[in-house]
């Protein structure tokens, strides 16, 4: 039994180590500020393979390539906006977690606000109408006897 658990532990170690090594994926940042900028930028970009993950967290092969590309462009002195544009040119706005405001995304950006305003309008209308109408007999007061 003991031998079995030791073997199991060994297996787990052997199989998980390569995964860890992949996830770390170190890049030669020249200082902490650069690393922070890199982390921030890759968090705002979507991985195309695992589409609910950002570039910073994704383990996909393509995400690693794109991280390297972002890193190389940072080294080349490109701004965040330029790097984002580079990726948008190739992968469309889909790579951005924050979709830009443009005619096609107006509903996305302002739809919820419009719904909220419409809801508020309905509430105000109903409340005013009820305030003006005579009070109906409250049914709750008539069936008090059944209350338990």
């Amino acid at each position: 039994m003991r031998a079995l658990s030791v073997m199991l532990a060994a297996c787990l170690l052997v199989f998980t180590c390569p995964l860890l090594a992949q996830a770390i994926d170190p890049l030669p940042f020249k200082d902490h500020a650069e690393e922070v900028r890199f982390q921030q930028l890759t968090r705002e970009l979507r991985c195309l393979v695992c589409q609910n993950e950002n570039l910073a967290d994704s383990n996909a092969d393509l995400a690693r390539d794109l991280r390297h590309e972002v890193f190389d462009q940072m080294q080349a002195g490109k701004s965040d906006a330029q790097i984002k544009q580079y990726l948008v040119d190739r992968y469309s706005d889909f790579v951005l977690y924050d979709p830009p405001v443009k005619p096609g995304t107006l509903l996305l950006w302002f739809g919820p606000l419009a719904m909220l305003l419409a809801g508020a309008g309905v509430v105000i209308f109903t409340v005013r109408k009820r305030a003006r109408a005579p009070m109906p007999i409250d049914s709750a007061t008539t069936d008090q006897g059944e209350d338990w």
């Binding site: 195309l48 393979v49 589409q51 092969d61 393509l62 390539d65 794109l66 590309e69 948008v88 040119d89 190739r90 992968y91 469309s92 889909f94």
Partner: protein, 180 residues
């Protein structure tokens, strides 16, 4: 009558969600429309699989339409697509250019000799760097390039008999009509 209003609201929601479910069965959620459609093919210079000393460039390929098919021996969906390319590849009317993506030449050659080679020519992008310019995010992907070097159609995922008949062949036919 006013008591029915919540019920109509409920019916509206049922219609909305039903439409959402129907829409999702008709569309691939993972498919990202390529911003490269109707734009020039990105410039590339990639070695040939059979002869790595020979480099194929975008400019050298101008003048004739062709279909780029991104594949890799590691890619499972490419294995599904492969028999379709073997039977249909010669019928589509344009040369089929294999784009060997993130693969080793040995694995690619072994895979092709095992399953057959549907390609007229194969170019190699072992690092996948040029593929970023093409906006490739998952093999297999296919790009139809016209004689002027403009991408006219892209398909993400395996080409099937239906996709070839309903999308690719009409796109190729549209190229033919423009030819002088």
């Amino acid at each position: 009558m006013s008591r029915l209003i919540p019920f109509f609201g409920f019916l509206l929601l049922v219609a909305l969600f039903g439409f959402g479910i129907w829409w999702n069965t008709q569309h691939d959620q993972r498919e990202v429309p390529s911003p490269l459609i109707n734009k020039p093919v990105p410039s590339y210079a990639l070695p040939m699989l059979d002869d790595p000393s020979h480099t194929v460039t975008r400019d050298a390929m101008l003048g004739k339409p062709y279909l780029i098919n991104v594949f890799g021996s590691w890619c499972i969906a490419c294995g599904e697509e492969h028999p379709v390319l073997m039977t249909q590849g010669k019928n589509i009317g344009v040369p089929l250019v294999g784009y060997n993506y993130k693969d080793t030449p040995e694995n690619a050659k072994a895979w092709l000799s095992q399953h057959g080679n549907p390609y007229d020519m194969i170019i190699v992008d072992a690092e996948g760097r040029t593929a970023i310019d093409f906006g490739v995010y998952g093999a297999p992907e296919s790009f139809l390039v016209d004689a002027k070097g403009v991408i006219r159609y892209k398909h993400i995922g395996p080409l099937t008999d239906q996709v070839i008949a309903n999308e690719l062949k009409p796109a190729i036919a549209a190229l033919g009509r423009e030819m002088p």
